[in-house]
């Protein structure tokens, strides 16, 4: 999986793009992800991946690689994002663990 394996039309790509640009939408996504996922027309496979924080599955479905660490930050927060931060650990656990 890499930047050549992206499904540019995947609804989750649009969702991640927009929630980072709009704090009100980000807060809404935090509080009620199901309604935001419905709004963007995510497939059931995508929704299930989000529900289970399955970053690897989102990658397999075609989420852009650049968004993958950002997914970990959407979930765990982005402050002080060092290698042992909650977001980095989530990324390692979900994407790199065998």
């Amino acid at each position: 999986m890499g930047i050549r394996d992206v499904d540019r039309t995947l609804p989750s790509n649009r969702l991640v793009f927009e929630v980072r640009r709009d704090m009100a939408k980000f807060q809404r996504f935090r509080g009620d992800p199901e309604s935001v996922m419905a709004e963007y027309g995510l497939s059931e496979a995508e929704r299930q991946a989000w529900r289970t924080q399955d970053i690897r599955k989102l990658a397999e479905l075609g989420l852009h690689p650049y968004f993958l660490p950002q997914v970990s930050r959407l979930i765990e927060g982005g402050a002080y994002n060092h290698n042992d931060s909650p977001a980095a650990r989530l990324y390692a656990r979900k994407l790199l663990a065998d």
Binding site: I3, R21, N83
Partner: protein, 283 residues
């Protein structure tokens, strides 16, 4: 005839401002010293405007519509975009743009084979927020940001980026106001892999090879050897940001570059480096 008075290329990884304390003291000091030195060199050249060239991190252009190069035409900029503030640990800042320079780039680019997109509503993340903190910490030099596509294939390749850099230099020289002093600042790279298996690693061998290639300074060799494939092998998700450095090489028009600092920083999840070109009389 305007003049390019400084050209630099440097990394912009968020850890440099967001979690620098997680790097070793030696690594941190070397990078702070190096980035501050680049700032001194750029400010000593007394630029009236900085033309920046950097990857858009899928912040301004959705995957439905990604321009290869987009010139920021606003008279004022601000950053960092709100969601990125705590990540970057950079307080909100504002700085002037330069609409006249930006519009000249778009207009003359169109006459010289570059279909620049343009926008006065660009959001800034690490691409500008990290380097500006060191280069112009008072945010007092106008910036014309050029957001480029480095991560949504097909990418503008090395040859195209070199050509775009050369064309920018020609536009500065031929179409901008006499005595205007222009600095070029490319940001991105070196090896890193956001979203990939090497997220917590860097490719020091690639980075040192790339820096040596640029110090050698032969544009034909850079185009031949610094291929997209080679960059992607060093970190699929981000190393192609070095395409911005190739545009800077083009803008420097054959002058020699020197490395100011380099650290293969796993703590910052990026090969961190900076170069400047000696902008004395041309070769």
């Amino acid at each position: 005839m305007a003049e390019i008075v400084a050209v630099t290329a440097l990394s912009h990884a968020p850890g440099l401002t967001g979690w620098p304390d997680r790097a070793s003291a030696r690594e941190r000091q070397n990078l702070f010293d190096g980035f501050n030195e680049v700032g001194r060199i750029v400010r000593a050249a007394k630029p009236d405007v900085i033309i920046g060239i950097a990857n858009d991190h899928l912040l301004n252009f959705p995957l439905s519509n990604v321009p290869d190069f987009c010139v920021g035409t606003a008279a004022h900029w601000k950053g960092p975009a709100e969601w990125f503030r705590d990540w970057l640990n950079v307080p909100p800042y504002a700085l002037p743009g330069h609409a006249e320079v930006a519009r000249t780039l778009v207009r003359e680019g169109g006459r010289n084979g570059i279909n620049f997109a343009f926008s006065d509503e660009l959001m800034f993340d690490d691409n500008w927020s990290v380097p500006l903190k060191f280069l112009t910490p008072d945010y007092d030099v106008p910036l014309v940001p050029i957001h480029m596509n480095c991560i949504v294939p097909p990418l503008p390749g090395p040859e195209r980026c070199l050509e775009v850099g050369r064309t920018i230099a020609r536009i500065v020289r031929d179409s901008m106001p006499a005595r205007l002093r222009v600095a070029i600042m490319a940001t991105g790279g070196l090896s890193h892999d956001p979203g990939g298996p090497k997220y917590f690693d860097v490719d020091e061998e690639f980075d040192r090879w790339f820096l040596a290639l640029f110090e050698d300074g032969d544009p034909a060799r850079v185009v031949r050897e610094a291929t997209i494939e080679r960059m992607m092998a060093a970190g699929d998700g981000g190393t192609t940001e070095l395409l911005a450095w190739i545009a800077a090489l083009g803008a420097a028009e054959g002058r020699r570059a020197r490395t100011i600092c380099y650290e293969p920083s796993r703590a910052l999840r990026c090969g961190m480096g900076a170069m400047v070109w000696d902008m004395g009389p041309g070769p």
